[in-house]
């Protein structure tokens, strides 16, 4: 059974009086452990697809199945639980909670899950150490560089050991050096943790390292290719 299965998925938005189709008739299956990039020009539907796969948005038609369950059948609470247990998000703007330290930000998904504070803290520290930013765990986001913030965001996405990590333009706000480090870090984590990664990107450095590339244009899948020896 694929981890994620999209069948005839269409997503339309209303913008004032007009209806905009962001994604149309998309069929995709993604298996566990894949390292997938959704790429294409701006407005091609990459982020919308990420949102649908990550269950923070629902399709206008078609079905999104995660682990064989149609997400449209889940209540809002069940979707929240699913996101907390099975999905990790990495955002382009990092989206760290500004009043929490790096450590507290990483602990957040576990706090929401009800994991005991001591245990959550231990997990978060381990992960921050693995990502090489343990020294900055007491810092708040505004005291961290862009690369450090993105690592914290990655740690937060991974701390709950999700089956799937969705990263929307994770390198867009990073300089070249940091972008490369983040890309190779995610590659390593994909290998070591077996976590499925799905990126929305048009960063060539990232595209060169993924095992599968899905090209989107005008909300449709135009090309779905796998490349050996990536990461």
């Amino acid at each position: 059974m694929p981890l994620v299965k999209l069948q005839k998925v269409t997503r339309r938005y209303r913008l004032g009086q007009t209806s905009v189709t962001a994604v149309e008739d998309v069929d995709i299956e993604i298996d566990r452990g894949e390292f997938v990039a959704l790429w294409g020009p701006s407005g091609s539907g990459k982020s919308t697809l990420c949102n649908l796969v990550g269950c923070i948005d629902l399709p206008s038609s078609g079905s999104v199945e995660v682990n064989g369950r149609n997400v449209a059948d889940l209540s809002d609470d069940a979707l929240s639980e699913h996101r907390n247990l099975s999905v990790g998000f990495v955002f382009q703007q990092f989206n760290l909670v500004p009043v929490l330290t790096a450590l507290e930000n990483v602990m957040l998904p576990l706090n929401l899950r009800g994991v005991a504070a001591r245990e959550a803290r231990a997990h978060a520290i381990d992960l921050l150490a693995e990502l090489g930013i343990a020294d900055f765990m007491a810092h708040r986001p505004d005291k961290l560089s862009g690369g450090q913030r993105q690592r914290v965001a990655i740690a937060r996405a991974l701390v709950g050991k999700p089956a799937l990590v969705i990263a929307d333009e994770p390198t867009a706000n990073l300089d070249s050096g940091n972008a490369l480090r983040i890309v190779s870090l995610m590659g390593q984590l994909n290998k070591s943790h077996g976590t499925t990664f799905i990126f929305a990107t048009h960063d060539q450095r990232l595209l060169d390292r993924v095992s599968r590339r899905i090209l989107l244009a005008d909300g449709r899948v135009v090309e779905d290719t796998t490349q050996a020896g990536a990461r």
Binding site: S80, N95, V97, V99, L100, L112
Partner: protein
């Protein structure tokens, strides 16, 4: 929950000015409610203690059944005999909560300076019991000496106490002699010589020219009786009034005594009128505080929701449920209200301390002398206002927080 409290506390510090406004509103509201509440508690205590102790009416009064309805027309039939009084005293003193039981006799008649006479309304008391009752007063009433002149004494039967207005009407003063006339219980006219040794404050303005307090033996001689029309009972704690009344009711009935018991509240009708008036003012102040806090919290949380829309979207994408968003903002408001209440407590203590230091005086209701103006710290009010304000802040936060909880996650993440 600790995560939300921590988050709330830090967000408060992040928006210092806005938080300060709301915290200040809560603090002022808390202080206003508690300073006024403390003042009303002081007034209530003054009225209670004034009636019970300063005017020696005790907590409970025992009458022969029907006295209050028909006793004025036929006082002789409703007097408690010496034997009744002795049995009532014995039954009362069996209850360990009773401190003292003492007979009193209300009298009325004329008092004369030899040339002119005026009507008086009097009471005959056992002077030593009256002193004992007064000495048990607390608060400012303890400091109050509600008369000029000297104490009445058990062994000087002719020494009496008159209200200043009464003495003034007759041109009498301390040390003056007078003649007191009244019909005996058999209807014969009787007269006794009296010596004014005390000018006593009247509990009510309308009685300021009518009150005469005499030793019980004087009153009995005047009415030619060995009885009394009531037994005044003083108990250890005012809060036990109802319980002691209930217990005495049962015991007195079991002893075959056809009597009825009234509490001090039932006899001091104006107490409830004054209390109701202060309660209405208190509610008025509380409603104003309620509205100010409500508007401040709605404003603060509403702005926080707008400013932190992206953060809410992030939290929701991490798995925070809609209910969790409500809890997050409710916890933040609770922290804000708690800080406000702590500050409000400091303001209240400051006000109480400043008042103690300044020592202003005033004449409260039912007391005719200047006494220190005080504000009591009432733990029940402090706790109740703390809980009310925190609950109010939490409930108020739910309105904007519900809006936050319903924000579409994708829209929230794209919010700038």
């Amino acid at each position: 929950m600790w995560t939300w409290i921590k988050l709330g506390g830090r967000n408060l510090l992040k928006n210092k000015r806005r938080s300060a406004f709301t915290v200040g509103a809560v603090a002022l509201g808390f202080a206003a409610v508690n300073v006024f509440g403390g003042f009303t508690a002081y007034v209530y205590r003054g009225i209670e203690d004034g009636f019970i102790y300063a005017h020696a009416n005790g907590h409970l009064t025992i009458f022969k059944k029907g006295f209050l309805e028909e006793g004025a027309l036929d006082p002789a039939s409703f007097l408690l005999s010496e034997e009744d009084l002795a049995r009532i005293h014995e039954v009362c003193m069996e209850d360990p909560r009773v401190v003292l039981a003492t007979p009193q006799l209300r009298i009325s008649g004329m008092i004369s300076n030899g040339k002119s006479s005026v009507i008086f309304l009097g009471v005959g008391r056992v002077p030593s019991d009256e002193i004992a009752i007064r000495r048990r007063a607390g608060g400012f009433v303890k400091l109050l000496r509600p008369f000029d002149g000297q104490e009445l004494r058990d062994d000087t039967k002719q020494d009496v106490s008159a209200a200043p207005g009464l003495a003034e009407k007759l041109g009498l003063g301390l040390g003056s002699d007078a003649i007191v006339f009244a019909p005996t219980i058999d209807g014969q006219m009787n007269a006794l010589d009296a010596h004014i040794v005390q000018l006593v404050d009247s509990p009510d303005e309308v009685l300021a020219d009518k009150i005469l307090i005499v030793p019980l033996e004087f009153a009995r001689s005047l009415y030619d009786t060995t009885g009394a029309d009531r037994m005044t009972v003083l108990i250890e704690h005012t809060r036990d009034t109802a319980a002691v009344r209930e217990a005495l009711d049962v015991r007195l009935a079991a002893a075959g005594l056809d009597v009825e018991i009234k509490t001090w509240q039932e006899l001091r009708v104006s107490y409830f009128k004054i209390r109701n008036m202060f309660d209405v003012i208190f509610i008025f102040i509380f409603v104003i505080v309620f509205i100010i806090v409500l508007l401040s919290v709605v404003n603060t949380v509403g702005m926080a929701v707008v400013e932190r829309t992206r953060e809410i979207g992030t939290m929701r994408s991490l798995g925070l449920k809609r209910r969790g968003v409500l809890i997050m903002f409710a916890a933040e408001s609770a922290v804000m209200a708690l800080v406000g209440c702590v500050l409000g407590l400091a303001l209240t203590l400051l006000a109480v301390f400043a008042l103690d230091l300044a020592g202003p005086t005033w004449i409260p209701p039912t007391i005719t002398r200047r006494v220190p103006l005080q504000v009591y710290l009432v733990p029940e009010y402090l706790l109740l206002s703390l809980l009310c304000l925190i609950l109010l802040a939490m409930c108020t936060a739910v309105v904007p927080a519900r809006r936050a909880a319903r924000i579409d996650i994708v829209d929230a993440l794209g919010h700038v």
